[in-house]
Symmetry: C2
Subunit: 202 residues, 2 copies
């Protein structure tokens, strides 16, 4: 595609670096910004710069935060005996949205993935071990809430080995048929797991 | 959705103002930017600000341009006897990509749309009439290349009435079955038009 302007070309190239946005979508966005009020583009650019330069990560759980310690770690209403280990900040948001969990979190920042060159030392695992090793730790149970993929399972396996002697209980979130899903469409591994992991009725 | 940070919330709100981007996609983009190198976000924001503050519109044809007069209007290789009227800059790019047109353009900046409160005076129609009225004009034919919609047709009708006495020939782009399209899927109006507008074989 030939662009009528170097400015357009540069903006399209920058926007299309974002995941899931191709050159055509980028061009559509650029032409929208040109037509739109100038202040809207400025507000967008400003939000991005502020975001990237001011964002912090909680020093306790590594979740995204506006302050040194995130609002969940600071809250006096959270149960400090329960700690949920997740891959990234998006998972914290997803679990918070369920309103079914009242403990604290630990964000790994990824999962072990030899294919992508990500080993245990690239993740926030040592700080998790440190949180559990402190003499005054209140944590009784660690819930491993990682994706049910090979990388997620590997990571859960590794973490379990590192922490299992430090506390009472290490659990994993249930695997089974999704609520509202039809049994006949569940794959056999999931269905098998749902039978092995069955719980008492009611 | 509860966001863990005001900065995230603000960035998500700004990004989701873009057409076709919802809150979920915006959040995905924001989390990508946080993980990505800081310089990439800065380059993106910079491209947007530069785009919006430096972009110009050609004083002759109103196409997007880096300079006062766009590269097409400046080019000595373009046929100045042919002028193609289009809705916006995207259409200029689309026609340029076909490599089938060597004339110049006139960008209206929209189409007449009473529903959206856009009348003829909101478009670059007076400047088109002026280009054709100049004593020394070289333009012999105006091609109306507007979308085959009610708004596009209304606009074409209005423009034709304003300019038809000023020049030799006003034409519209052909309407018919799309190349590579299957006849049975063409709607009846398109198919009807393709029969009325038939041309000699070969």
């Amino acid at each position: 595609m030939e662009y009528p302007s170097k400015l357009i070309e540069n903006a399209v190239n920058q926007i299309s670096k974002l995941p899931g946005i191709g050159k055509k979508t980028a061009l559509r966005l650029v032409l929208h910004l040109i037509k739109d009020k100038e202040e809207n583009t400025m507000a967008l650019a400003d939000a991005l710069v502020t975001l990237r330069s001011k964002i912090k990560f909680c020093t306790t759980c590594h979740n995204i935060s506006d302050e040194e310690v995130c609002s969940i770690c600071r809250s006096p209403r959270r149960d400090r005996a329960l700690l949920c280990v997740v891959e990234d900040a998006k998972d914290v948001m997803a679990i918070e949205n369920t309103a079914q969990y009242n403990g604290v979190y630990h964000v790994l920042g990824g999962v072990i993935s030899p294919m992508n060159g990500i080993g245990p030392t690239d993740l926030n695992i040592e700080t998790l071990v440190a949180r559990l090793s402190q003499g005054q730790t209140e944590i009784k149970e660690v819930i491993l809430a990682l994706s049910p993929t090979m990388e997620g399972d590997t990571t859960a396996f590794y973490i379990n080995r590192r922490i299992k002697d430090l506390l009472l209980r290490v659990s994993v979130i249930a695997r089974g048929v999704p609520v509202g899903g039809d049994l006949e469409y569940a794959d056999e591994i999931t269905l098998g797991r749902s039978i092995i992991g069955r719980t008492l009725f009611g």
